[in-house]
Amino acid sequence: MADDFLFLTELLGLKVHDLKGRRLGVVKDAAIVPLIHPSRVDRFLVGGGWAWLTVRHDQVRSISLDGIYLKDEQLTPYHSDEYMLRLVRDLLDQQIIDGQGRKVVRVTDVTFSIEHASDGDSIRIVDVDIGLRSVLRRLAQGVVPPQWVRRMQTIIAPHSIVWEDCSIIEADPQRRLRLNISNKILERMHPADLADIVEDLSPDDREAIFETMDSEVAADTLSEIEPDVQASILESLETEKAADIVEEMSPHEAADVLAELQEQTSEDILEEMEVEPKAEVEELLEYKENSAGGLMNTEYVALPEGTTVAGAMEALKANEEILESLNTLFLVDVHDQLKAAIPLARLFTAAGATPLRELAPDTLIHVDVEERQDRITELFDKYNLLTLPVIDAEGKLAGVITADEVISLLREK
């Protein structure tokens, strides 16, 4: 037969026949057991009289649109099984995460491939169908013969997601384990994409994802989420897990998130944190949210006044983790007073022995920790800044404000 595929809408209602070809009942649901096989349909749930029977995949001789023929009729009554993912109950019409398209989608239908083997046919999930074509199939299911539906649907473009790219959403952590749901697909995504997805989910589902996700990925993702959603996620998590995630965030982002929480929750989380990140975060929490102190972060490179280009290069090699977003170096004297700001690119055209001081532009622009937001955005605009140093009351370098922070600020308005 040419068509080696089957839709869930067609599978449901398919007649099941015993060895003598007598009709036992019709398919009501199908289940996979992810711990055994990630995509093969392991059981067919067949409804005949009052009770449902379970047909195991190795009891099937053939599957086609004409029905399912068995080779073994020792069927057992259906009992709910925690390890089963039932396609109609747990997947159809539910939301799943499309790892490739990076969004939350709703399942309208499922496409199986029919695998022929000498000992019998089996079916595997190939695609999860969304979009209009599958909507048509659902509406026609049981009303229009399947062959007609297959012909009719070709006028609409298919819209499907490969099963391997789908991530099922399950809020119960026990069940996640039994169903072998991993966060691999999610953890491979860009944190900003994952953040958009998380914002689309219900609070319970968000909690389940953050509870089970690697703390580092969770931290990156949380930084990208809207402030009020951030707060509700952290509040729903166990304090310990919340503290693990906050520790992984950059201190100024951590401070921003904690400032959004209720005071008690925020203190509880700080309590659970390691000493070093905690001190840094607490310091930042002192500043008013919309002052320079509240906007700055403490990830910057400050070097002694007399450093040469070669010396600076050495220092950078030792701090590779911040290179990705670094664009300015700062020079400070022995009392930590800010002396100069050097654009990073200057280093590449200067000789190794050149003192950094000579590469500095004439004007050094900086702001006080108390400076207001609108003044800061004005400075960025006026001087075309990428990074703006912030100094405290004693003239010491306290942190830097970066352009991306200013962009977020402006977008909020």
Binding site: L92, D93, Q94, Q95, K103, V105, R106, V107, T108, I130, G131, V135, R138, L139, Q141, L201, S202, P203, D204, D205, D228, V229, S232
Partner: protein, 462 residues
């Protein structure tokens, strides 16, 4: 001084949540005109409906917001997950059709409010349709929303007007608690429309999504419940004063149908020359406000339920179904109004009747959903709550069936209209003819006649 004032406004706006917004959108063009018509045609008679309507409104809105807070999902999401695609699909079709008539009603409200100033609908409606489309799609709607909300204070004019008109308060008080049923098509239509306009089906979808979007969770739900209840009561307080104003200013001089906005504006006549201005501003604000929210809410509901991408932050290619449906609703909704001699006010009233007919079905799904332990955990309905909900469903379906049977009877006049009238004729009149000086000869349908006999309402002199 000015600063202090601004500060107070800021506080006021920060506490306005989904409940109050919904309550205010509730009194849209359909609301204003339905209540006006009720007062103008039946005087104080329909006032009794307001108490049960308020109760039903509180029950339904509270259920929507509770479901939103506990599940974190929209109503159409839940219907899809629990009842499957086919149910969702047909419900969505019914909702789109009903809401479409509501969109028409909003544009009709815009047209008729501006026609008071002799601005042709051929100018006002296209301009407003384009304005609505851009305001919502280009995303500056949020910042304008607060202006609409503040402008909703125009409803206060009805309260002032009611007092200045010196209505018969004793009469109004009596009819507020004295139920009067008449088996007259117009009266039943009016009842359904009053329920339909107060408890519009689309409101339930809108409110639940708004609660979800606001991020209100089960923990914070208790505070939000207060807001929802206050909002519901406010809606019906406004309704009460609209009816009383119209009863005193219009019906007392002879019951009449409201045929255009000028008729309805009479209710504000104590404001003299400003009456038209106030009425027009109020109606325009309410209509435009709802014209922004209603099509958008409809499209979100449909896309959520059927699993299409949605959101004004998406590009057209990302969410084609969303943009197409939205644009169609706005363009067709406004376009219908431009049909020559389109009966604006009739259309507005008819849309509210459709709301009332769809409502029980939406309610049925809501009550089933909210009683699912798996979804709502400890937040399911109490038995008393369920009783109120199911009784409301039964009454609404009863009213709808009564209306349908009467309408069908009337649509086949030839079959029945043997001269002399074999169909019993009921002379409708209230028990106090000196004040309620209106009589109507209404051919009573046989079903209505039997029904009336069965439940023993003797309001008719046969």
């Amino acid at each position: 001084m000015l600063k202090r004032f601004r500060y107070q406004i800021a506080i006021f706006l920060s506490v306005i949540g989904p409940g109050l917004i919904t309550a205010n959108v509730d009194n849209d063009s359909g609301g204003i005109l339905t209540y006006s018509q009720a007062g103008a045609k039946y005087g104080y008679l329909p006032l009794w409906t307001l108490i049960p309507i308020t109760l039903l409104l509180i029950v339904t809105q509270e259920m929507s917001s509770r479901m939103g807070a506990v599940t974190g999902k929209g109503l159409s999401d839940l219907i899809r997950e629990e009842f499957g695609l086919r149910t969702t699909f047909f419900l969505m079709i019914a909702l789109v059709l009903t809401n479409f008539t509501n969109v028409i009603a909003e544009f009709a409200g815009i047209a008729s409010s501006l026609e008071l100033f002799h601005i042709s609908r051929y100018i006002s409606v296209p301009i407003c349709a384009v304005a609505v489309w851009f305001l919502v799609v280009r995303g500056n709607y949020r910042s304008v929303e607060k202006i609409f909300l503040v402008a909703c204070f125009l409803y206060v004019t009805y309260i002032i007007s009611a007092f200045l008109l010196k209505p018969d308060w004793k009469e109004a008080a009596i009819y507020s608690v004295k139920p009067i049923l008449m088996f007259d098509t117009d009266y039943i239509t009016m009842l359904i429309a009053m329920v339909g306009t107060s408890i519009a089906p689309w409101m339930q979808f809108y409110l639940q999504s708004a609660i979800v979007e606001k991020g209100i969770t089960a923990k914070e739900y208790v505070q939000s419940r207060v807001e929802v209840v206050v909002g519901c009561i406010l809606t019906d307080v406004v309704a009460f004063f609209i009816i009383v104003s119209c009863a005193t200013a219009i019906w007392a001089h002879g019951p009449k149908d409201i045929n255009d906005a000028a008729d309805a504006a009479v209710a504000l006549k104590p404001f003299g020359q400003y009456a038209y201005l106030l009425f027009s501003a109020g109606l325009f604000n309410a209509s435009f406000f709802a014209a922004c929210i209603l099509p958008l809410s409809t499209v979100f509901t449909v896309c959520e339920g059927l699993g299409f991408e949605s959101g004004v932050d998406k590009r057209f290619e990302e969410a084609p179904e969303f943009y197409w449906l939205y644009t169609l609703l706005v363009v067709l909704g406004a376009g219908v109004i431009l049909w020559p001699n389109f009966p604006l006010i009739k259309m507005i009233l008819a849309s509210q009747v459709l709301n009332g007919v769809l409502l029980p079905f939406v309610l049925i799904y809501m009550v089933i959903l909210i009683n699912k332990k798996g979804l709502m955990k400890e937040w399911t309905n109490s038995p008393a709550y369920n009783a109120v909900a199911w009784v409301s469903v039964a009454i609404m379906i009863g009213l709808t069936l009564a209306l349908a049977s009467i309408t069908v009877k009337q649509m086949m006049p030839q079959a029945k209209a043997s001269p002399g009238g074999s169909a019993p004729v009921a002379q409708v009149q209230s028990h106090d003819p000196s004040r309620h000086a209106f009589k109507a000869n209404v051919p009573e349908s046989r079903i209505a006649h039997l029904f009336r006999q069965a439940i023993g309402i003797g309001k008719f002199t046969d």
